[in-house]
Every structure is written in C-alpha cells, then in structure tokens.
C-alpha cells in the first residue's frame, strides 16, 4: 500500500528537524519494524576562492523529478525487503546548516534498512533532475555539481 501511494517529495525551503521526529513517531505503531536508517543532507558553508557559501537555491524539473523519485521507490521496494520509505527534498533557498534532503527507510532488520537508505541517496544524487545554485555571502553565485 505504502509502496503504491504517490508521494510528494518536494517541499518549499529547509526541512525542519521536527518533521523528522514526526516521521519517526508515525512509525511507532508499525511493530514489525526493527530498524530505521535516516540520511540527512545539510547545506555546508563551503569556501570557494575565498568566498563562503551562505545558501543553496534549489530548483528542479519537478514533473520529471517526481516521476524519477517514484521509479527509484519502486526499484528500492523490489530490491530490498523494506517496510516503508520516505523521501523529502527542498526547493528554493536553504541556508547553510539547514537540511535539504531527508531519506528514511525502515525494515525488520538493520542491514536491509541501511542498504536501502544508501541506495536511495546514491540514486537521488545520480538520477533526479535537481539543480542547486550556491549563493555566496556577497550574493554572487555558482552552480553546484554532484560528485
């Protein structure tokens, strides 16, 4: 069920820590879960050519991105025996120190939850059309590229 429901991944601005607490609390009724694995991406104040990043402004090809997120979910559920999986990604400005990505996987056993979480993170970085403008403190910018 959980698997089939189309999920909204994008949210405007930073992901608040309370959202993570709420997601965790929502899984306490699922007593077949033994392990949760969570990955959080946080915007770093990188220094590039003596300028410091103060925020990343995220944009995306949203229709395609939601479709790719859906395919990644389908793949993950066929590869891993997970109970549930949730992904949230920011759009718009996310300041340094704030969270831009939240991946949350759950399973009866730890290895499966952890592997599935890693799978999601790598797939998201590689396949989802999301773009990031790194804004420096002096308001100049450069475009971020995933490594």
């Amino acid at each position: 069920m959980d698997k089939k429901k189309p999920k909204k991944v994008f949210m405007q601005g930073a992901i608040p820590p309370e959202k993570i607490a709420k997601s965790i609390a929502n899984h306490q009724s699922k007593t077949n879960i033994g392990a949760h694995s969570i990955f959080l991406g946080q915007v770093r104040a990188d220094e590039i050519d003596c300028k410091t990043v103060s925020a990343i402004d995220y944009s995306a090809y949203e229709e395609m991105a939601e479709q790719v997120f859906h395919e990644i979910r389908e793949d993950a559920f066929s590869k891993f025996d997970i109970t549930c999986a949730h992904i949230y990604h920011s759009l718009g400005e996310v300041k340094t120190g704030e969270l831009c990505l939240f991946v949350f996987t759950s399973s009866a056993h730890r290895k499966i939850a952890i592997e599935a979480c890693n799978y999601f993170v790598e797939e998201i970085k590689a396949k989802v059309p999301i773009f990031g403008k790194e804004i420096f403190e002096d308001q100049t910018h450069q475009w971020k590229v995933n490594k």
Partner: protein, 78 residues
C-alpha cells in the same frame, strides 16, 4: 512543427529564459536540437548537458509535434 523547450539551472541562466516554443522541421532528432540550441545560446560544457524528451533522458529519439524537450545541466540534488 512546434516543440516545447524547457531550460534549467545554469542553462536557463545562460539562455536568459526558462522555456520557449520552437518551430522546427519534421524528422529532427533530439541530438540535433541539442547541438543547435547549444550553439544558439553558447551553452558551456555541452557534454555535461542531458536532454529529456517527454521526461525521458534520450537524445537518440526523433522529435514529434508537441514534444517537451528539457535541457538539463548536471544534477545537484541532496
């Protein structure tokens, strides 16, 4: 025929627009449209640019009337 084009990130910035509708000849391939627009807007680092035709990454497809073609710079999610 008409093709709906979308530009994202660095490419939209270079092109100075997020989208446009182009009138092109029948039989044009995505890769040909890519080459043409890269030249038109002097888009940097062309190898890093991916095209999505109707949301599928593919440059080896022949375009049809009304197709949506997105010009995508390197991904930076996460």
């Amino acid at each position: 025929m008409k093709i709906n084009i979308k530009y994202f990130g660095m490419i939209a910035e270079t092109a100075g627009k997020n989208e446009e509708i182009l009138e092109v000849d029948e039989g044009i391939f995505a890769r040909e449209l890519k080459a043409r627009q890269i030249k038109t807007y002097q888009i940097a680092d062309p190898e890093s640019v991916q095209l999505a035709v109707n949301q599928n990454l593919n440059t080896e497809v022949e375009l049809k009337e009304g197709d949506e073609v997105a010009f995508l710079p390197p991904f930076a999610g996460g």
